[in-house]
């Protein structure tokens, strides 16, 4: 899906407003997968990930951060996704809406099994696993993004791996 959308770099010669709009467009196209995957990792379903995705980029459009480097922008988007996902989870109204089915998401049984096993982990564990294994962030940066101590993040990673291993063993998939 996203591969079909041509990524467009900002036109630095355009007028200020236009440039801002195009920058944001480039940011949405460039970071769409990253934001969506983190939201999905945290919530475990597409319906909630959709809402978080919209919220993150809405915030970006309404008050774009001043980012000196792409690394800063990436960190800003990850942090806001973490925050939005946390607030979304606590939202009372969200609980009245039913998540959509995930049928057709996975191409292989192995992916389906892993997805099911991950859903059995607490959300905070799923998030640090994603930031560590998928975004390849060091513990120090995960701690900064999530507002947790480094030692807490490390403990969560250890426990997440241990819990996942146990779940896989129970499923005969270790």
């Amino acid at each position: 899906m996203m591969e079909q959308i041509k990524k467009k770099k900002p036109d630095i010669l355009a007028g200020k407003e236009k440039q801002r709009g195009e920058d944001a467009e480039w940011v949405v196209r460039t970071y769409a997968d990253m934001v969506y995957r983190l939201a999905f990792a945290r919530t475990g379903n597409r319906s909630d990930a959709d809402d978080i995705f919209q919220e993150v980029f809405l915030r970006y459009v309404k008050s774009p951060p001043v980012c000196e480097t792409e690394e800063h922008r990436r960190a800003w988007l990850l942090r806001v996704t973490v925050n939005c996902a946390g607030k979304f989870h606590r939202s009372f109204w969200q609980r009245f809406t039913g998540p959509m089915e995930e049928e057709g998401t996975w191409t292989q049984q192995e992916d389906r099994d892993l997805s099911t096993q991950l859903k059995k982990l607490p959300e905070k564990y799923r998030m640090v696993l994603h930031l560590f294994y998928y975004e390849e962030l060091p513990v120090e940066k995960i701690a900064a993004l999530t507002g947790a101590k480094q030692s807490t993040v490390r403990t969560q990673l250890t426990r997440a791996r241990r819990a996942l291993k146990r779940i896989m063993e129970e499923d005969g998939d270790a």
Binding site: M2, A24, E25, D50, L58, F92, W93, Y133, Q150, S151
Partner: protein, 346 residues
């Protein structure tokens, strides 16, 4: 292995093109709200009606742990009903205080209290030992939300969600706990060694051993197909290493990588674990590239587990770092059989 499996799975997740187009509409339309979902006001209005209908009778019987509900969600607290089902084992009382169901989710609050001593404290941790039997397939999670020093009660919040997103309509839930940890101790940013001695940079005796766990970004890269990996030969415990239940048993190079070896004693009893890192004078830290768990024999697993923390720092640069560690252990491990069954009522 896990990393590759996870990456393969997640690579298949992308936002729907329509969703991206909606986000882009917000970019093109600076007013912004055009692409948002519109169900919030409708649901909010419906929920306000529900709040009016159910709040009064529930508030008439405020449970002991009710104050804790407000820590999590004041709005949700209005919907909880008292349960007050309890059990006792080993002089520890566990009570399900209140519960609430709405849609596909059930939530409840549990307290634990030591009637005979001080085995329960503010660090009490169910150690992933709890289990939930419910009349539907679902997922659950629990988290500690508070500790009341006056009563000595620690409170946990538990939530369950149906797999199939169907509505939860009554039934019974059994919540059980088989062990917990408490009286946790932590050592953070503990300076272990300044790494200035020449011997730290030397290759040390190593052995090939079977690893039965570990972590770090490159963990799987350094394991042979049969799970074997090179580790330091355990030496005498260093004197002056102050972490209770842990010993520093070696430090030095193996095949060009800097290893630090720590032995953890009875870790299943205490959940003792640690994380080591290097830090230079500017405060820049270097994490291990991987760490591996190993033991001297099958029989000593769990009693004396070794962890080799491995850093990719060349010997000539090691002296610019100091070695630090974060460690955590529990002073108490209590096993028992606590089980409460209670009805789910709307």
């Amino acid at each position: 292995m896990l990393e590759q499996k996870y990456r393969h799975m997640m690579d298949q997740i992308s936002p729907d093109e329509k969703l991206v187009e909606q986000a882009l509409e917000n970019v093109w339309n600076q007013e912004g709200r055009k692409g948002r979902k519109v169900w919030y006001p409708a649901v909010a209005a419906a929920a306000c009606v529900c709040l009016f209908l159910v709040a009064m009778p529930v508030l008439a019987a405020v449970p002991q742990g009710y104050q804790f509900l407000y820590l999590v969600s004041p709005a949700t607290a209005q919907f909880f009903k008292p349960v007050r089902r309890a059990c006792e084992d080993q002089g520890i009382r566990m009570e399900v205080e209140s519960a609430c169901i709405h849609g596909d989710t059930a939530e409840f609050y549990v307290t634990m209290q030591d009637l005979e001593g001080d085995r329960i404290d503010g660090t009490t941790d169910l150690y992933d030992s709890y289990s939930i039997h419910m009349p539907f397939d679902g997922i659950g999670h629990s988290e500690r939300i508070g500790y009341d020093e006056e009563t000595g009660k620690v409170s946990f919040y538990v939530s369950l969600t149906r797999w199939d997103q169907g509505k939860i309509e009554g039934g019974k839930i059994t919540f059980s706990v088989r062990e917990f940890l408490s009286h946790k101790k932590k050592w953070e940013a503990l300076l272990i060694d300044d790494l200035k001695k020449q011997e730290r940079t030397k290759e040390q005796p190593a052995r090939l051993t079977e690893s039965y766990g570990g972590g770090g970004l490159d963990h799987e890269l350094y394991l042979e197909k049969d799970g074997q990996t090179g580790v330091l030969v355990p030496g005498k415990p260093w004197e002056g290493f102050c972490v209770e239940g842990a010993e520093l048993t070696g430090m030095g190079y193996v095949d060009g990588l800097f290893h630090v070896q720590v032995a953890y004693l009875n870790r299943y009893e205490t959940d003792i674990h640690g994380f080591l890192y290097l830090q230079d004078e500017q405060g820049q830290t270097v994490d291990d590239i991987y760490n591996v768990y190993h033991a001297e024999s099958e029989e000593t697993r769990g009693e004396r587990d070794y962890v080799d923390y491995v850093f990719d720092v060349p010997p000539e640069k090691l002296g610019k770092y100091r070695l630090y560690g974060d460690f955590s252990t529990s002073g108490m491990h209590v096993e028992g059989n606590w089980q409460v069954t209670f009805p789910l009522e709307e």
